[in-house]
Amino acid sequence: MNFPIISALILLPAIGSLFLFFSRSNNEKNTTIKYVALFTSLVNFLLSIYLWLLFDQVSSEFQFVEDREWLAGFVNYKVGIDGISILFIILTTFITPLCIISVNNTIKIRLRDFLIAILIMESFMIGVFCSLDLVVFYLFFEAGLIPMFLIVGIWGGTRRIYSAFKFFLYTLLGSVLMLVAIISIYWISGTTDVVKLYELGIDAKYQNLLWLAFFSSFAVKTPMWPVHTWLPDAHVEAPTAGSVLLAAILLKMAGYGFIRFSLGLFPIASELFTPLIYVLSVIAIIFTSLIALMQEDMKKLIAYSSVAHMGFVTLGIFTIQQQGIEGSIIQMISHGLVSAALFLCVGVVYDRMHSRLITTYGGIVTIIPKYSVLFMIFALASLGLPGTSGFIGEFLILMGAFKDNFLVAVVASLGVILGAAYILWLYKRVVFGELVNKDLEKMKDLNRSEYFILISLAIPIIFFGFYPEPLFNTIEVSVNNLISMYNLNLINK
């Protein structure tokens, strides 16, 4: 394969944004720039699907690897994919066009700049999921802060500035320690190439500190309790498309990082710190679910539910069981789709009523039935109803957890009940009940683009709920390989 397909995936959105930058947007409707952005992201989506088809599911090696000299004699620009990263890439390329379609209704000012930010963001996010060098990974991981800061800060709600700053500084603070760790790894092992590091392993005496440094970055990004407080703020203030990107993809970077780096590079430390992760995950699941129950702002409720769901993810990853890790990956993909859909659902009613408060609504089922049905599907998927993708992930995670630690699994299972409680209660209060607020009667049901977006999210949620086989086939070999390598490294040391 000579064509650098991965670099093409990374670069294409950036090139598209360059086009946007030089295009003129004088007319009111900005149709041209929207189509340019949409076209770019759709091409990227097709390219990633094509990549999935080309992808060899039985090989445990990294595929489509590109290795170019970059920082001379020190860091190579190395990208490549395995079964785990391909799914996240497709999630990214799938969500981005939907975000771009959704701006029709939500973004009123500086549309062109917004689309540029979204496309640049896409480039960086794809870069995160396929970089095979720590420095390259760090570069993409951090670079994503810039567009996200602007998305929250320029197009956000009333407290946008506070939220944007909080988001930026929290994440930066977490990440600088990771930079120290990455440079230290270079001096310890002589390379930052992930594949080589997998083979070499890292000296046991350094692992704990390095693991903690990586953890500080990923924990903020995941976000894990107690450093999750930036997330509700950022979510609430971000515009709908921003919340979608944040929930669907940005949070997954950390989960991916845990699998790829924490488990892969520091098995001994991971073994040591598993209890820590368990405790934090369980607290996140129970505690933030309880907080979610109390929320009056819909977006905030979904934001807290994201923290809880990511608690399941971290729990699953550190079970180091086949089921647990596979479950986490599927949970991340599923949460990417479901949380995106839920934020879009909130966005739909917000655009009409300009309120995110749950008390504003109630009894809208008769007024906007299509919306109510779709919202129900996503709510059910979020609580993990069998037949939706949410079920499979959660079920596998709990299965893995039961194998590893009975107590943790029991407590985490309670979280499933709480999860059902807050999301159903939300649904009940918003959709059913008495129609008190008379303004709601003027609400229009979903327009074409909204309908299209929500349907295209509902299809994979239900499809993978009944038939998760393609996902399993893709990740199985890579996860197997990861676990066997993990155990091997554990024995060797």
């Binding site: 920082l71 700049d113 951090e142 930026f168 500084l169 930066l172 600088v176 930079l179 120290v180």
Partner: protein, 472 residues
């Protein structure tokens, strides 16, 4: 005599200064002409170095008191080019605030001459001579807008404090001479007796003097006032050019004669570095004047450059040379933006004047955005790589404390850079600024923005050039 052509740029520069002085005296209204000639002089000097001298690995001249090597050639080229751009964008600014006089380019040229002597010096006396030549010119430059109270204050303050530091420095020189019997760096290195505590005192005094010149904490007090009071283009000159020269002297002075005394001065350097990084980051938060803010930010940046030096390896030296180079480029862009904030022949320099400019000036604010994120050290911009190499060198020497403090202060510093971005992008807009900028200004802004933005595509180029500089 045959050695003279190695110092051709210096000779050429000094002859030009004399010629321009005479020209200025005898020809009326010649300020624009002199300005243009000075530009050409700077360019020619850079070209001479680039063509003739850059290949020289190491050569001593004049009884070992001058050294020409990669380090000096590289730093001289950076100095000359930076001065060139400063001078080029000064013209329209000086014209508008009505101080376009013949002295300005001549003073810049003389301070550049002083710096070139400093950069090449391998002897305490030569070094001091160069230092004084540049300082005297800088005092006058600081007070160049003499009708402005703040400018006069700046010049006076700079003069008094700088004279004090020169005194300390000279005292250090005499101590070192007294206890080693020579002023030549190499001879000192040979005759060094590390048991002499007076030598350590000498080093400390000289370090204080140098730290003053690069405004490292705790010798930074003059910087905010002087930067704020001086005319903006002079401030631009202050923030970059003298620091390049002083940093070179730092490198040469510490690593040639006193490499063996590293235990004595490394701690001082680490302290200077940590104090500058932290103080620069924290003190900048409360500022409302952009020039003052840049003063604090430049204090912080010098801290990072010193962190590279403190790591006592060739990697560290190279990384801090790279840092200062990238810093110069970023600063050029930042000041170009500042010089574009002009309305009805009046310049604005407060943070609130930036409020909402992204509405009317999308390109200007995009450049500022890129430059500020780069100054904050966010990848994939050039500023990140600068910091990255510094920390790579620092961690190589297992100086984790320095690295972690440095990185944490980047987070603090990120806050005030973000605050500027917030003002530009999130705050309500104000009146438009003028759009008719001089082509040089546009050039320097575009040039620095593009370099910063696309640095990541070819990050090895600068490394390769700098990697030829091996001092230890």
């Amino acid at each position: 005599m045959e050695n003279l052509h190695f110092v051709l740029p210096e000779i050429f520069l000094s002859l030009s200064i004399m010629f321009l002085l005479i020209l200025g005296v005898f020809k009326k209204d010649s300020s624009i002409l002199i300005h243009n000639i000075s530009l050409i002089v700077l360019l020619i000097s850079a070209v001479i170095i680039f063509n003739e001298i850059i290949e020289i690995e190491k050569i001593y001249l004049f009884n070992g008191s001058i050294v020409i090597d990669y380090l000096s050639s590289f730093m001289k080229i950076i100095t000359l080019l930076a001065a060139f751009i400063v001078l080029a964008i000064s013209k329209s600014y000086l014209k508008i605030i009505k101080i376009l006089k013949i002295e300005y380019p001549i003073l810049i040229l003389s301070s550049i001459l002083g710096m070139m002597i400093m950069i090449s010096s391998n002897d305490l006396i030569v070094f001091y001579m160069g230092l004084e030549l540049q300082s005297l010119a800088l005092y006058v430059l600081a007070t160049f807008n003499r009708n402005n109270l703040k400018s006069s204050e700046a010049g006076l303050k700079y003069f008094v404090l700088s004279a004090l530091s020169s005194g300390l420095l000279l005292y250090g020189c005499s101590l070192i001479y007294g206890f080693s019997g020579s002023t030549n760096f190499d001879t000192i290195a040979v005759q060094l007796n590390s048991n002499e505590y007076a030598l350590t005192f000498g080093i400390v005094f000289i370090l204080v003097g140098l730290a003053f010149k690069i405004s490292a904490v705790p010798f930074h007090m003059w910087a905010p006032d002087v930067y704020e009071g001086s005319p903006t283009t002079v401030t631009l000159f202050f923030t970059m050019v003298p620091k390049i020269a002083a940093l070179t002297v730092f490198i040469r002075f510490l690593y040639v004669p006193f490499l063996n005394l590293i235990d004595q001065w490394q701690m001082i350097l680490v302290f200077l570095s940590i104090a500058s990084m932290l103080f620069g980051a924290i003190a900048a938060i409360g500022q409302t004047n952009i020039k003052r803010l840049i003063a604090y930010s430049s204090i912080g940046h010098i801290g990072y450059a010193l962190a590279g030096l403190a790591s006592s390896s060739n990697d560290g030296i190279q990384s801090s040379i790279m840092y200062i180079t990238i810093y110069v480029i970023m600063n050029l862009g930042l000041f170009s933006c500042l010089l574009m904030m002009k309305r009805n022949n009046e310049y604005y320099e407060n943070l609130e004047d930036l409020s909402g400019i992204s509405k009317h000036h999308p390109l200007l604010s995009l450049s500022l955005l890129i430059i500020l994120f780069s100054l904050a050290g966010i990848p994939p911009l050039a500023g990140f790589f600068a910091k990255f190499y510094i920390f790579k060198a620092v961690i190589e020497q297992s100086m984790y404390f320095l690295a972690i403090v440095g990185l944490l202060s980047t987070v603090v510093a990120a806050f005030y850079y973000l605050r500027i971005i917030k003002i530009i992008y999130f705050d309500p807009e104000k009146e438009k600024y003028d759009q008719n900028h001089s082509p040089w200004l546009k050039f320097s802004l575009t040039f620095s923005t593009i370099l910063i933005l696309f640095y990541f595509i070819f990050p090895s180029q600068l490394v390769e050039i700098v990697s030829r500089i091996n001092i230890i």
